[in-house]
């Protein structure tokens, strides 16, 4: 069977709250054994609901969910959460406040003898970098430590699939980045299949092998981080992942695009017909600062980012651009600076008249 090859298989999932438009519709997803996937999207796109359906915390109305080839959810049939052999790391960690760290981790190890339970819990605490913290209660732990205990607790029973719901959103930026790399290393070392949900693309890129950008209850693009950024399949993905602007252009002969900023060559996979109006994606790093350039744009705002400045620029015809410039080029607002295009990956979408997306 085809399903056997996947750790997780979700097909045509549909979910809605009574009297509301569906939260999930036509949601498809597949994770290979040991793969770390991520659902990325703005709030309200259904990513958390998808996770809760896979966990069995919500019952999907239509579609099928299979874990290691075993169907756990289809129309009119759902295996309850406790029988799915999954692990969940919750956004608020959900550590049991009346149990210490050790007992929290041992909570799901019910079929083991007491001594074995403690041994396994201690192993996991060591794995997540908290050896010797077993006697601490949740309120005595820092945010990062709680996160580690929650991960250890979810991993302890050896789940077939680990689900993480915005796991780092309560941590400060520095810790968030460090932990996401560390957690990825732990999961990879254990060979755990995992699915993460987040609205933070840095988190998604740091943690996941494959990222799905969600929109209106389904995955719009399921791809590597690199491709999401450089080869977005839709304006929505282009807009949501990374920074950038869309400028108008016309498809020219020979697979190129003419814009007010000049002509660009080669747009693979764009399926352009000559004369077709298109929207061209320009990332801030596609717009380079060059004092000798003929093309000038006015500095509208400036955001200092340490190594670089992000300059929102305005062209003479009022069009807005973003440009990433090394930070020794310190220009004043209102100043006109020279720019040129340097586009490695040309991304353009057909621009239907009147269509907004």
């Amino acid at each position: 069977m085809l399903l056997m090859s996947h750790a997780l298989d979700v097909r045509k999932l549909r979910f809605s709250y009574p009297g509301m438009p569906p939260v999930l519709e036509g949601f498809d997803l597949a994770l290979a054994e040991g793969e770390i996937g991520c659902l990325l999207g703005p709030s309200g796109c259904g990513k958390t609901t998808a996770l809760r359906c896979i966990a069995g915390l919500e019952a999907a109305h239509e579609g099928e969910i299979a874990i290691r080839g075993q169907v756990v959810s289809k129309a009119g049939f759902t295996v309850p959460t406790e029988a799915r052999r999954i692990g969940v790391v919750f956004q608020d960690y959900a550590l049991f406040p009346h149990l210490d760290a050790m007992d929290n981790v041992a909570f799901g190890l019910r079929d083991h003898a007491r001594a074995e339970r403690r041994k396994r819990a201690a192993e996991l605490l060591a794995l997540v970098g908290l050896p010797g913290s077993g006697t601490k209660y949740p309120h005595e732990l820092s945010g990062g430590q709680k996160q580690r205990v929650a991960l250890a607790r979810a991993l302890a029973p050896g789940p077939q699939l680990l689900l993480l719901d915005e796991p780092f959103s309560n941590l400060d930026a520095d810790l968030r980045e460090r932990l996401s790399i560390e957690v990825r290393a732990i999961l990879k070392a254990q060979g755990t299949t995992a699915l993460l949900v987040t609205h933070d693309q840095n988190e998604a890129f740091a943690m996941a092998d494959t990222v799905g950008v969600m929109r209106k209850g389904r995955i719009e693009q399921w791809d590597t981080a690199y491709n999401l950024y450089h080869r977005p399949v839709s304006r929505f993905v282009a807009d949501f992942v990374g920074e950038g602007v869309l400028i108008d252009g016309l498809a020219s002969e020979a697979d190129g695009i003419d814009t007010v900023l000049g002509a660009l060559r080669h747009c693979p996979g764009c399926e352009l017909k000559p004369g077709m109006p298109v929207a061209l994606l320009l990332r801030p790093d596609d717009v380079q600062h060059d004092d000798d350039a003929v093309l000038k744009a006015e500095v509208v705002k400036k955001a200092f980012r340490g190594a670089e400045f992000l300059y929102p620029l305005k062209l003479d015809d009022g069009k807005q651009l973003l440009s990433l410039v090394p930070s020794h080029h310190n220009h004043a607002i209102g100043e006109k600076i020279g720019i040129k295009l340097h586009v490695d990956h040309v991304v353009a979408f057909p621009r239907a008249e009147g269509a907004d997306d």
């Binding site: 959460t81 406790e82 969940v88 956004q91 799901g108």
Partner: protein, 559 residues
């Protein structure tokens, strides 16, 4: 109804898996607890016959007039006393304020019928007050006028003395939550402080005051001990007379329904007031500055708080204590121990069952996320507003029929005589208590559950635990404090309960409350004091804990 409304508009979560049986259990309990009220209601359509016609023609207008007068007097009295205390405590600083803040709730430990006994003893013709006056001024009987305590205004005074804390507690919170700048704004607009109070503070606190007064009025309507002892004819005494003296269950049920109509009006008023109260602005983060009082103002503020506390608690407690020390219950000892044990027994049984049922109902509604279960829990909670006399009628009518059926059936089948299984035992009594007091446990347990985030049960379920195991290993340990509080509150309420106990106790099964009532009815007030004092003492400890927690929530630990 409220539960339904609160979920409207917001996305309603789908039912959680594997929770159907919990939902069914919660709904079944709610139905069982609401059934007796339905029984009472069904009698509305049974023809009443001559006895009812007679009642309507003779005493019904009296019942209605007396009950209504009592309610109006109690509403006025508790509002004036409660608002005055609440405002002083919330806005003024004076020595003793921090203690008075919670001590003002103490009269709640005094059942109205208990202070009725105490004041009757002190104020009757032969009592120490009148004797003292006669001695002092050389008066003889008939030389002077002295208010008759055993009268309708006397009963209203008793109720105000012990029920004002309902208004006080709610109004105090309302005053504290008002941003101080509101009253200040009023004053910058040229209002002197006292007019700022009447034009700004009081109107803002009106919903809270109305809710408190409605609660006090519901307690007044539910009372049997006080009005019966004072000989004031109200619906509760009427129900008992129709039931016990006249043997007219249908008439008793019809009277119950009219009483219930009064209660429903009050309940609706309370709900409406509370809903409006929710729209008030949030407490300001600015630390509230209280007026420092000195001299005459300080004395006035102290008097405002100390007089109600003295009248509602200290003085009656002192009278009871001195009565108990002078003579007390002549049968104090073995007999008293039996009474205390009986009270303790029913209170413990009821508290344990109430907490267990409340846990099933609250947890069932929570995990099934069923609006039906939520609504049913509110229906079951209505019993708290239903007077004990009405519940007694609602339970006894079907229970007596069931008993007879059961006895006949067993007799016919096996020739054994079991007597009255339900009405002759504690079963019917505990059932009635549960109907009346389950709401107390349910509210406390729901509050405790609400403090546990749903991700706790999600986590437990994802770690392989079913709903029952999750409850046992996660929720119950986490809400221990709430469970103990719920049990204590029910325990104390059962200890104090008189009307339902009075009619439904098994033969020869007396409790402290029944003993106090019986002795007081026989004018043996000194002897009644011991049992009365015991009831107050038992209620005092949990009340102090609860009141301190209510007044200073930041000091209490969440369970």
């Amino acid at each position: 109804m409220q539960a339904l409304e609160s979920t409207r508009g917001a996305p309603r979560p789908a039912p959680r898996l594997g929770t159907r049986s919990w939902n069914a259990a919660a709904v079944a309990i709610a139905i069982a607890l609401a059934a007796p009220i339905a029984v009472v209601a069904s009698n509305l359509f049974v023809p009443g016959g001559q006895a009812w016609a007679h009642l309507v023609a003779t005493v019904l207008p009296d019942y209605a007039l007396n009950s209504a007068t009592l309610v109006v007097l109690v509403a006025l009295g508790t509002t004036i006393v409660g608002v005055a205390c609440a405002w002083v405590v919330a806005n003024c600083e004076f020595p003793g304020r921090r203690v008075l803040e919670w001590a003002l709730a103490l009269p709640l430990a005094m059942p109205a019928y208990v202070i009725a006994y105490a004041y009757t003893d002190a104020l009757q013709f032969a009592g120490p007050v009148q004797s003292g006056l006669r001695e002092l001024f050389g008066w003889a009987a008939g030389d002077y006028w002295f208010p008759e305590i055993r009268s309708l205004p006397g009963a209203a005074a008793m109720f105000v003395a012990v029920l004002y804390p309902y208004v006080y507690l709610l109004a105090r919170v309302a005053f504290l939550e008002q941003s101080p700048s509101l009253a200040e704004a009023g004053r910058t607009l040229g209002l002197p402080p006292w007019r700022a109070f009447f034009r700004v503070s009081l109107p803002l606190a009106r919903p809270a005051v109305a809710a408190g007064a409605a609660l006090a009025c519901m307690e007044t309507l539910a009372d049997f001990g006080t009005v019966s002892y004072f000989g004031v004819q109200t619906f509760t005494t009427g129900i008992f007379r129709a039931w016990l003296s006249m043997g007219e269950p249908v008439s008793a049920a019809k009277l119950s329904m009219i009483l219930l109509a009064f209660v429903v009006v009050l309940l609706a008023a309370e709900r409406m007031a509370r809903r409006r109260a929710r729209f008030h602005d949030v407490p300001s983060s600015r630390r509230r500055s209280r007026m420092e009082l000195s001299g005459g103002a300080r004395a006035a503020a102290l008097a405002t708080c100390i007089v109600p506390l003295a009248l509602g608690f200290a003085i009656p407690a002192a009278i009871l204590a001195s009565l108990a020390l002078q003579g007390g219950d002549g049968q104090f000892g073995a007999r008293f121990a039996t009474l205390a044990a009986n009270s303790f027994l029913v209170a413990t049984i009821t508290a344990a069952i109430a907490v267990a049922l409340a846990v099933v109902m609250a947890y069932g509604a929570r995990i099934s996320r069923s609006p039906v279960a939520g609504a049913m829990n509110r229906v079951a909670s209505l019993g708290y507003a239903v007077p004990g006399a009405v519940i007694a009628v609602g339970v006894l009518i079907p229970a007596a029929k069931l008993d007879n059926l059961l006895a006949d059936a067993l007799d016919a089948l096996w020739g054994v005589s079991v007597g009255l299984v339900l009405t002759g035992s504690l079963v019917a009594l505990v059932y009635a208590y549960l109907i009346r007091f389950l709401a107390v446990a349910l509210q406390t347990v729901e509050a405790g559950l609400a403090r546990i985030t749903p991700s706790m049960e999600d986590a437990a379920r994802s770690l392989g635990l079913g709903p029952a195991e999750t409850l046992a290993r996660v929720h119950l340990p986490m809400m221990r404090t709430s469970l103990v509080t719920a049990a204590l509150l029910v325990f104390v309420d059962v200890m104090k309960e008189l009307p339902a106990t009075f009619v439904m106790r098994p033969f020869n099964f007396d409790t402290l409350a029944v003993q106090a009532y019986n002795l007081a009815s026989d004018e043996r007030l000194a002897e009644a004091s011991t049992a009365s004092l015991a009831i107050v003492a038992v209620g005092l400890v949990p009340l102090i804990v609860a009141a301190r927690r209510m007044v200073r929530p930041e000091e209490s630990r969440t369970g």
